[in-house]
């Protein structure tokens, strides 16, 4: 029987459709002013900052994975609240308030969040939000501490907030397959991987300190 229902694109199709436009928008050209520094450089260095730290990457992906495991409304609530709480941590870094154990906190975030995904822990939403928010502060602090040194701080902050959000989205995309027979195992395997990476960085951070 012919399907008369309208065809809505899948998430993958939508991403493929919008990625070229997104690349063009993100490919910063000559900017008028606002910041004396190189805006395209600030944008790209901000965008790359979370990506060049594997501890950041795995923790952000774990937020997306855990959100997908917790399902609605956590799947979108965590990525909505995370940037704002991360910005609060960024504020601490910008004004130079001391926050001890930043690297340990970041590594621990990977361990804990990865562990939550591995064990498929499903706490109440508020508890999950507190966990994620607590670790977001450490991540934000690490990014924010470098903001004043950036020649183009606005572009830098846009870059790393966007990068962080896209990492969440990648975790959510992986977690979107959770209803498939192999999906739940894949998500938990992802959590295990995140936790292992977190343990490595935690060890490095403790030994280093």
């Amino acid at each position: 029987m012919k399907n008369f229902l309208p065809h809505y694109p899948t998430t993958g199709q939508t991403l493929v459709r919008y990625t070229p436009a997104l690349c063009i928008i993100l490919a910063a050209r000559a900017w008028a002013h606002a910041e004396s520094g190189d805006l395209s450089g600030g944008l790209s260095s901000g965008f790359m900052h979370p990506l060049t730290g594997l501890d950041h990457v795995v923790a952000m992906v774990a937020v997306g994975l855990w959100g997908a495991q917790l399902r609605q409304p956590a799947i979108w609530l965590l990525p909505v609240t995370f940037p704002v709480v991360m910005a609060m941590g960024g504020v601490l870094g910008i004004v130079g308030l001391p926050l001890p154990g930043v690297e340990i906190g970041i590594a621990l975030s990977a361990v804990v969040l990865g562990g939550m995904v591995l064990a498929a822990v499903r706490p109440p939403l508020a508890v999950a939000a507190v966990f994620v928010g607590f670790f977001a502060i450490f991540h934000g602090y690490a990014h924010g501490a470098e903001l004043p040194d950036s020649a183009a701080p606005l572009a830098y902050s846009i870059g790393f907030v966007t990068s962080t959000g896209l990492l969440h989205a990648s975790g959510i995309l992986v977690g979107a397959g959770i209803d498939r027979p192999w999906g739940a195992r894949l998500v938990r395997a992802g959590g295990a991987l995140v936790a292992c990476v977190g343990v490595y960085f935690l060890f490095q951070a403790i030994v280093g300190s």
Binding site: P9, A21, I25, H33, T81, A87, V95, G144, V161, G165
Partner: protein, 205 residues
């Protein structure tokens, strides 16, 4: 009547955004008369601190209802025009106040977009007016001595209206739950950026 699919709605939007983002040939200006107008158009669309709050406001206006949305936008545009005009005649000692207000607009507009709640009119209207003035001033104050103010301001005003429309259209047309969530996420990003930039301005001063 055949319902329009979401893909047919996306295509004009993508084309519109593409047309605005793809920079035209900048080899030269055909007529000296449109030079200042063209520079006025370029200014807000090449300044990050204007683009994102305006996009957020456009998206926000789409969800505020039939009266509140247009009213807020009208108030903002009035403030914008006033700020542009004032910026062209006033020589600032420092841009700290307009910059701080512009970054505050990131936080307010982005935050309201993330919350996805209609803002109370008694709060939203004054804020829209103040931020309109600050964004307008931020553009008007960049007028150089050899430019014709009216042409520059017309160009800047037109560009900012276009940015508002770009923010408004998809938020008004696309009602899919996934897109509404994406808007909220975008709002939280904009709010986060504003929070950090305000902290940076505070730390500098």
């Amino acid at each position: 009547m055949k319902a329009r699919s979401s893909s047919s709605l996306q295509l004009p939007y993508i084309a519109f955004v593409w047309a605005l983002v793809c920079y035209p040939a900048n080899a030269h200006i055909m007529s000296f008369d449109i030079d200042d107008f063209y520079l006025g158009i370029l200014h807000p669309i090449t300044a990050l601190e204007h683009i994102f709050p305006l996009l957020a406001l456009g998206a926000l206006a789409a969800g505020q209802g039939r009266i509140k949305g247009p009213l807020t936008t009208a108030i903002f545009l009035t403030g914008l025009a006033a700020g542009l005009a004032y910026g062209t005649v006033h020589d600032p000692d420092s841009m700290a106040l307009p910059n701080n207000l512009n970054y505050l607009s990131f936080l307010v507009f982005g935050g309201l977009l993330a919350l996805a709640r209609p803002a109370p009119l008694y709060l939203f209207l004054p804020l829209a007016a103040v931020f309109g003035i600050s964004h307008g001033y931020g553009n008007g104050a960049m007028l150089r001595g050899d430019m014709v103010p009216l042409r520059f301001c017309n160009g800047a005003f037109l560009a900012m209206v276009c940015i508002l429309i770009i923010g408004f259209l998809p938020a008004a047309l696309i009602q899919k739950p996934g897109f509404r969530i994406a808007l909220r996420v975008l709002g939280s990003w904009i709010a986060a950026i504003g929070l950090m930039m305000m902290a940076l301005e505070f730390a500098k001063n």
